[in-house]
Point group: C2
Chain length 323, copies 2
């Protein structure tokens, strides 16, 4: 195998979801696309994943397929948090060398995620350098229905989807000295996060604000609150904890990990009191666990309680450049 | 300075071109955008630039502003080659460390290019890792008017814009043992390529096919011809050569560099005989040099002549993974 175009032809041309509206896909200077009729607002987002930073340093490609899946899934999570429907994505892949087995596996995982979410690969760039993958996703929302971080009102209930801490548990298990912690079941929670696209779509007309939890609940909730110029009261005992995580760590560690660790890609959102019945219907329709964990308040602080006792959590979470 | 959001706030929030249609820009999970009325086809493209691969290894940030400019300019060149008007872009920036001087310079160069092209920065991602920059651009074209690689017909004239070889001359001068070759004037040609946006727009209804020259004229023309299932006859003596390059190298080297070296970001396009008068008008209106260098033919080969004598050029150009 020789060139860039062969890599594209062999691994990235086919088997990704087809979408209407792709006039010209991969293979020209740019893709020519037409948004669905009526959905005249588009949503774009991009994320880079770097070897050894966003995922454990690749060792011989054991997780290449997982990595392909994850690179797209974390971007889809941003579309979910906006209430957007996935349409198209581009892939910028930087590779240290051409490893056909790795490319085969990576593209198969990427393809799997793309087909599940019905999003079409429409372009990209491949070059040589330290392993990294930047994906840009484009989605659509009905006019005015995008879920923003800035829409929360005082007294809105704060919810999270699913449970928290699974991805962090796997990462920390990895990094700990004990190898056999029974974390195998958590591996997929890290590598193949399920972007909450159906939930995001369902929340368009229900939630007042939303964000996805990539860097930890507290940190991401703080971002939502900052955008809405609000504070919050949280009840830690209500956090939906990953069951495996509870076996692996003590209660304090477990709660701290659920509150502060990242990579869960669940949604955190706010909703007015009078819409909570509709929310329950949505949750049961989608068979998704939704947990009320607190309330928005005036002010700028997140006041955290554990069984009515105020507690202090370091608002760590993940920041690439935190001092 | 501590975190990611501060980097965004300080260096990337303001001063980039404003565009109508940006409902929600930087600072949410995604940007919410509305394409201009009537321009219901959008064009997307992305390119990654990696330190030491796409530009000389950064030494103390002497070229940080240039790099910011170049990262966007090479992407705009893809929009130009599609005949698209720039609308919005996202930036994924991977940095080894937080160097405020570097960020200040990089963002100023990026901003300069964005303002010139009237394209708005709407989102992005910043993380730690080996220096690399992926930009995704989104533009619009009137329905059906995108310039594709695949539209050329037999007997169309082949043109290139501007002159060729300047960027390569600077790169090669850099790499050669002779430091004082008078290449200062060429530096900007490498670092600040002028995306041919006005030309691309003007060619929408004139050219039958177009591509931008990033990896060398011969290699990029071959891509256009492959997409159009055609061959070509080229006259090397007609190539528009960079004047400084002619002083720096002998005639054979000069022509070879103009034909095979990359980074010029001029447009190469094909046009039917009966539209060449209109093309001349466009060239004089835009004050752009357009040079006819050959003709499309049936078959699959590019036959290259120098004063009617067939010559063989290795079709080198740049491929990241060529063996």
């Amino acid at each position: 195998m020789t060139g860039e175009s062969e890599i594209i032809e062999r691994y990235f041309r086919q088997g990704f979801a087809d979408r209407r509206g792709v006039r010209t896909g991969i293979g020209d200077d740019g893709a020519v696309l037409r948004a669905p009729v009526g959905a005249n607002e588009i949503v774009v987002s991009c994320d880079t994943l770097v070897d050894g930073v966003h995922f454990p340093k690749q060792d011989g490609g054991r997780h290449a397929a997982d990595l392909g899946y994850r690179c797209l899934a974390v971007n889809l999570s941003d579309l979910a948090a906006m209430g957007a429907e996935p349409l198209w994505f581009t892939l910028a892949l930087t590779l240290p060398s051409v490893d056909e087995d790795w490319l085969e596996a990576f593209s198969s995982g990427l393809r799997e995620c793309a087909v599940e979410a019905n999003i079409a690969l429409v372009g990209g760039d491949t070059c040589r350098g330290p392993l990294a993958c930047t994906i840009q996703v484009i989605g659509s929302v009905p006019p005015g229905q995008a879920l923003l971080r800035s829409g929360a009102a005082v007294g809105d209930a704060i919810y999270v989807s699913g449970d928290l801490g699974a991805a962090a548990a796997w990462i920390q298990g990895l990094e700990s000295a004990e190898p056999a912690l029974g974390l195998a079941g958590l591996e997929a929670r890290f590598w193949r996060p399920a972007a909450q696209l159906a939930l995001g779509k369902g929340l368009r007309t229900l939630a007042s604000a939303a964000i996805d939890i990539s860097d930890g609940l507290i940190r991401d909730l703080a971002r939502l609150l900052r955008a809405s110029r609000l504070g919050a009261r949280l009840r830690l005992e209500d956090l939906p904890l990953c069951e495996t995580l509870r076996k692996f760590a003590d209660r304090e560690q477990t709660i701290k990990m659920a509150a502060c660790a990242g990579d869960d890609y669940q949604l955190c959102f706010t909703i007015a009191d009078d819409k909570q019945q509709e929310l329950e219907r949505l949750a049961s329709e989608l068979d998704i666990r939704l947990t009320r964990i607190g309330l928005t308040t005036t002010g700028e602080n997140i006041d955290i309680f554990y069984h009515d006792r105020p507690v202090s959590l370091e608002h760590t979470g993940f920041d690439h450049f935190a001092g």
